[in-house]
């Protein structure tokens, strides 16, 4: 692998001289492998197996890098190494948890005893009788789809490419801030239990953020590639097609300038086309969260909230128009939240959540399914070694329809097309939402006309999805995600993935900024 990136000479001339000096460390790989001894989960399980009626053990090792360049200077370079174990202990029909980074025999024994003690103390107040049915003895492996490991580039090469992306954002001297950022995460999760579960899952995750802020006097406008950190995938370095990213950065820079001169988004009730990078948030907040079975059960009521969806709505509620087909797809290649098994050991399979507009199934793991007597999905997930699993959104996607994007636009007499989420808010029952986007275009008589700034829209979940008029075709499908889905007490931030085509909604309240 070449140690020095080949980039046009005129670009190199802008960089600090030191950066071009040859040094043996220039070959430092982008990959970082912490020098830890391999964790023998079966041996560890044998140490603690007698501490409760049943025990489970989840070992998580994760190495996360963040590389940020701003205005052609390094802004942030970091490596975070996480390694720990969550012990689960089942006593008297109650499971409790204890997390520790001390992976020695005494450390794990202490954690197991702590978990057993908590289970024993709380068993008298358990909300339901847990059995090992909710911890199936699954065995299997999952490997992410990465083609090129993080060791396929040197740190020097990767930094150079971020610099180049940053430079291509700077299309004008009105671009006062240009940011190119990448996150690279290597994850290894092992799960084993005293009733025979044995699961090993490894994957690489990547995300990118490329953004420009344009300023003209007191007015500033920001634009990014698909919104802040929406470009998220399970992938290796093949994800970073820097030629395409560079072209995207130039477009982002130009659009930031366009926004400076743009009109405010009108305040009207109009047809609305949402790009896939805004459908990401629309699906997440108004399909994903309300369908979580633990929310429906009320576990989340003190924090993120409850849900307007009631248990009796499954199989009955007309959630959206007949064009709406939403699915849970843990096997989506490269989906940001793809996996083979959830953190309770349930094998993850594709399921329809909403089919032809009818609500069919919620997002709940085996515990919630047992409590509600309803089918669910394998989504009992924890954000890390230090948190107990709860029902989480994973890959929740909207299936493509049959409308080419051009036809969708052509069908609109007067409407707005919005891209890239920048603001989000929804009530604690997941009904009344308001979202804002970075960039919009007015559609008049089936054609894009003006660029609009500060576009926002609001609505109510079920009427909104029932106003779905067109769904983009397979060619227009795009996949995004976010590492920042928050939920749970104690709080947990987890990765989710959402793929969607653009969608057209009839007569939505849109509006701009100001006042």
């Amino acid at each position: 692998m070449a140690a020095v990136a080949c980039l046009p000479r005129q670009n190199q001339a802008k960089w600090p001289l030191r950066h071009r000096c040859a040094h043996p460390d220039m070959k430092t790989s982008l990959a970082f492998k912490p020098d830890f001894a391999e964790f023998d989960i079966h041996r560890a399980l044998s140490w603690i197996a007698g501490e409760a009626d049943w025990v489970g053990l989840r070992h998580v090792q994760e190495c996360a890098q963040r590389r940020t360049v701003r205005n052609l200077r390094p802004e942030h370079n970091s490596i975070v190494v996480e390694r720990g174990v969550m012990v689960e202990a089942w006593v008297d029909g109650q499971i409790a948890y204890a997390g520790t980074c001390d992976l020695s025999e005494p450390g794990l024994r202490a954690a197991a005893r702590r978990a057993a003690k908590l289970a024993r103390a709380s068993a008298r107040f358990k909300p339901f009788e847990l059995t090992t049915t909710q911890r199936p003895p699954s065995r299997g492996r999952f490997a992410g789809p990465a083609l090129r490991g993080f060791d396929s580039l040197s740190l020097h090469e990767f930094t150079d490419r971020l610099m180049e992306a940053c430079r291509r954002l700077q299309v004008s001297n009105k671009i006062v801030n240009a940011v190119a950022e990448a996150a690279l995460v290597e994850t290894h999760v092992q799960y084993a239990s005293s009733n025979g579960a044995d699961i090993d899952q490894r994957y690489l995750s990547v995300s990118g953020h490329f953004a420009a802020t344009a300023q003209d006097g007191p007015d500033t406008q920001s634009r990014s590639l698909n919104g802040p950190v929406a470009n998220c995938r399970q992938a290796g370095l093949e994800y970073f097609d820097f030629e395409a990213i560079g072209a995207g950065c130039e477009r982002v820079g130009r659009q930031a300038l366009e926004l400076l001169a743009a009109e405010e988004c009108p305040s009207e009730r109009l047809d609305l086309i949402l790009a896939p990078d805004q459908m990401l948030l629309q699906i997440h907040e108004s399909i994903g969260h309300p369908l979580e079975l633990d929310r429906i059960l009320g576990d989340e009521r003190n924090f993120a909230g409850w849900s307007f969806v009631r248990p009796q709505d499954f199989g009955r509620l007309r959630y959206g128009s007949t064009l709406l087909n939403a699915c849970f797809d843990p096997a989506q290649p490269g989906g940001f939240a793809s996996y083979g098994f959830d953190d309770g050991g349930a094998p993850a399979t594709f399921e329809y959540l909403i089919k032809d507009g009818l609500l069919l199934r919620g997002l709940g793991g085996l515990e919630s399914q047992a409590r509600l007597g309803l089918p669910g999905v394998a989504n009992f997930r924890a954000a890390g070694w230090n948190r107990a699993p709860v029902d989480r959104i994973a890959n929740v996607n909207l299936e493509p329809g049959n409308s080419p994007f051009e036809d969708m636009v052509a069908s609109v007499e007067r409407g707005v097309y919005m891209e890239s989420n920048i603001s989000w808010s929804i009530d604690d029952y997941r009904e009344k939402f308001q979202f804002g986007c970075e960039y919009a275009r007015l559609i008049e008589n089936g054609r894009f006309t003006k660029v609009l700034k500060n576009p926002n829209y609001r609505g109510v979940t079920v009427p909104f999805w029932n106003a779905l008029k067109r769904v983009g075709d397979l060619q227009s499908l795009q996949s995004f995600g976010t590492p920042y889905c928050g939920k749970g007490e104690p709080n947990q931030m987890i990765r989710v993935g959402h793929a969607s085509p653009p969608c057209l909604f009839a007569q939505v309240d849109v509006f701009g900024g100001g006042r």
């Binding site: 450390g107 802020t213 890390g384 308001q434 931030m493």
Partner: protein, 450 residues
Amino acid sequence: MSFVETQCQQFDWLAEAAFAGLKPGEALNLALSAEDQTYVRFNNARVRQATGVAQSRLGLTFQREARQLRLALALSGQPARDLAAVRSLLERARAETFVLPEDPFATPMANNGASDHRHGGDYPDTGGWIGQIAEAAAGLDFTGLLAAGPQIRAARNSAGQSHWFSTDSFLIDYSLFTVNETGENKAVKALHADRQWHPEAFAANLEDAKRQLERLRRPARSLPPGEYRAYLAPAAVEKIISLFSWDAVSYDAWKKGRCALRQLADGERVFAEDFNLRENFRLGLAPRFNSLGEVAPAEVPLIERGRLQSLQVSSRSAKEYGVPANGADTGEGLRCCEVAGGGLAEADALEKLDTGVYLGNLHYLNWSDPRTARVTGMTRYACFWVENGKIAAPIRDLRFDESLYRVFGPPLEALTRETYLFPATDTYHGRALGGCKVPGAVVGAFRFTL
């Protein structure tokens, strides 16, 4: 040895060993964030999940020849293994500094002095405690979280500084739910936080919440979108002030054009004369030192008499923009802030409101147009329609979308004399420190949109 004593001993040993291994021209800051928490999640007064977490995270900031790398490591608590891991991270950091370009805004490490503040706690063993809480809440639809245990923040660097802060406390952050006379779910929110457990104090807290819940049993009223006079109870004000940490008081955000209070910062607009905001570390909710060990003044006036006095300036911003730092951490948010009380007795707030909306709490706030400090969010928990100074009925939840120049600007009619402390309750990665102290506010016009 206690968790805090063990962590202190191991941190000091690790720091000395790490500093001893540095080469000429290298500098290192070590920041420790550790906790030994018990988290018990309740739903309907039953224990949904109970989790113990012992964790120590070591943050390393390594510098050499104006290059900088940040690293973090979950410590195992086995000193020899942890030192080996730290050494391997430092080797990596060293190698990276030969590759990375110069970072002109990395702040050279300095000796920011020494401090040591330790606050103990006194509460029962978790086993018995779970029973006490569950039994006190029996018969109620009680949902929430108990978080209890020691928390540590420490920072040492190779220039000699050494800061330690540890506190041992608990919080019970909960909601009580009921169904009103027309079959709708209604709830109140409460928080009981302390270093010492007194069962009678929790019982009183619970009784107060139950009394509030009674008022929500009446049929709820739907209000059409529009402008209403409003009383924002302290919990609602706290939600708005918390949003200030999202780029509203950051010097860096202001310089980069994304400051949500830019017009205030530029002197184009003002808040009401009554509005005063400061960081006040005397509240004791968080250490004065940040993750680099830089020490903030005990008080940092941010907005005085409605005008901006200063923004939060980290040492990185200070270097980049040539202004003095004021101890702000990376991100330049609020750590321990206070909005000063006004002249209105809380008992007179409804009379002052006369007819309008009582907002007990707010939910899911976000900037809808940062250029004009416009915020959207939802009403949540105990919110009422008030007529002639008396509560008339609970309301159905509404979405608001309003500029802070109208909330805290001239339409602000009064702030209550009484202010309330809201310790941070968020527990992402670990239990947070910090919080704020705020009054209630009577606002002449508040805009609801949905």
